[in-house]
Assembly symmetry: C2
Homo-oligomer: 243 residues x 2
């Protein structure tokens, strides 16, 4: 995050505080990435023990959200940030909330899968490995984008979600044919459907994080803009004057 | 929102600004409530025209989110709020984000239902009227809680979500039996399932808004706390000293 003028405050303490929340967000991102990777692995391999570990660790993610939020509110109250510092804090508050929700999806995947394992000791009807790995990669990349504030990579990650959506639709279509051919598969199909849906939603959340980075770097709100207009806007907007 | 010391600033302009975002949030809440009410009505009556109106109006909800967020960021930068003013701003930023997501669910209900109407000109397989009305009531009540900062009513609204969850589970179970009895109903069941899921999620979002109000009034973060501990915490915590 070095192309914004962080680390340029007269108060060394203020610098240290901003640096600290920055690092905490990236640490939280790393933890959420691990949670998601483990969730996909547990779901694919039918590993009930690993699924339980993910569920147990979700409270760590939650605790990090609350603690980073608290740190951000403290900085606003004490340091009264403006311009790019304020945008950094706002972007962090929003990012942390999305990361927590991604953690929730990982938890949900494990709960759904675990219920299935304990009932029938079997794996899912379809492979969600490719869909899962795709979103893990998106999450990994957006954390990079966040660390380096790289807008171009951000646009690439943002675009990936369309592919995840298409892959998800393919999975749903496949699952529907199973159900129609043999109604006895319905409970299994529903489990796979819930897991697939949770994975697909992670792509949307990663897109949101991209938008917060665009806001941070470009100083303009890019939410609710369709993807073509988004690219045009990003190329048009010059970063606001730094102070 | 009169039991916090809003309206007590020396600067009349600052008072007016806080008052204005307060009002904007309640206006946005009213719009989202109307969107949800119309979405449920369109879905139940098979009213394609009304569904399209809801879809068209979603951009108004989105625009309000961006504009209120912008106003809040301006206030932080210009007025450097602390204590209860800062909590008010943070609670508003978070509430607005949840309201926007509720608006998205209303939009999603209409898109799902509309696709169905245009294919087959028929209504849903099961009635989602009761589930829908239950969440409309929850949204209506939480806007009241937000306007009056009434913690006791907040706890009641918070508790309602358990009933919505149970109702949703009942609907899902009912839909599963349809599918098993006659696989030809599967596409219709999937539509109803998607609508029911969207409605159920609104209950969770209303719960989140309750937590923001608790945070605002009590000065403590109540997220990720289970509902029994929540009540204990709420009764234990005294509001922070006002300054």
């Amino acid at each position: 995050m070095d192309n914004l003028n962080i680390n340029k405050h007269i108060s060394a303490q203020y610098n240290a505080e901003l640096e600290s929340v920055r690092n905490q967000v990236l640490t939280m991102g790393g933890l959420v990435e691990k949670q998601l990777t483990d969730a996909i692995k547990a779901m694919n391999k039918g590993d009930a023990e690993l699924a339980q570990t993910v569920i147990d660790n979700d409270q760590k993610v939650n605790a990090m959200e609350v603690s980073i939020d608290e740190a951000c509110t403290q900085i606003i109250a004490k340091r009264q940030p403006t311009a790019s510092d304020l945008r950094l804090i706002m972007a962090i508050i929003r990012t942390v909330s999305e990361l927590e929700r991604i953690g929730d999806e990982a938890d949900k995947i494990c709960r759904t899968a675990l219920e299935k394992f304990s009932n029938q000791h079997q794996t899912l009807l379809v492979s969600l490995e490719s869909l899962g790995n795709h979103t893990i990669q998106m999450l990994h990349d957006v954390l990079d984008v966040l660390a380096r504030l790289d807008i171009e990579q951000g646009i690439q990650v943002y675009r990936e979600d369309k592919k995840v959506d298409r892959e998800y639709e393919g999975v749903v279509r496949q699952l529907m044919t199973y159900m129609m051919e043999d109604p006895r598969t319905i409970p299994n199909v529903m489990t796979a459907m819930l897991c697939a849906r949770a994975i697909e939603r992670i792509g949307d959340r990663v897109q949101n994080i991209c938008e917060f980075v665009f806001y941070l770097v470009k100083g303009k709100d890019f939410r609710h803009v369709d993807s073509e207009s988004l690219e045009k806007l990003l190329s048009d907007v010059t970063p606001p004057a730094q102070k």
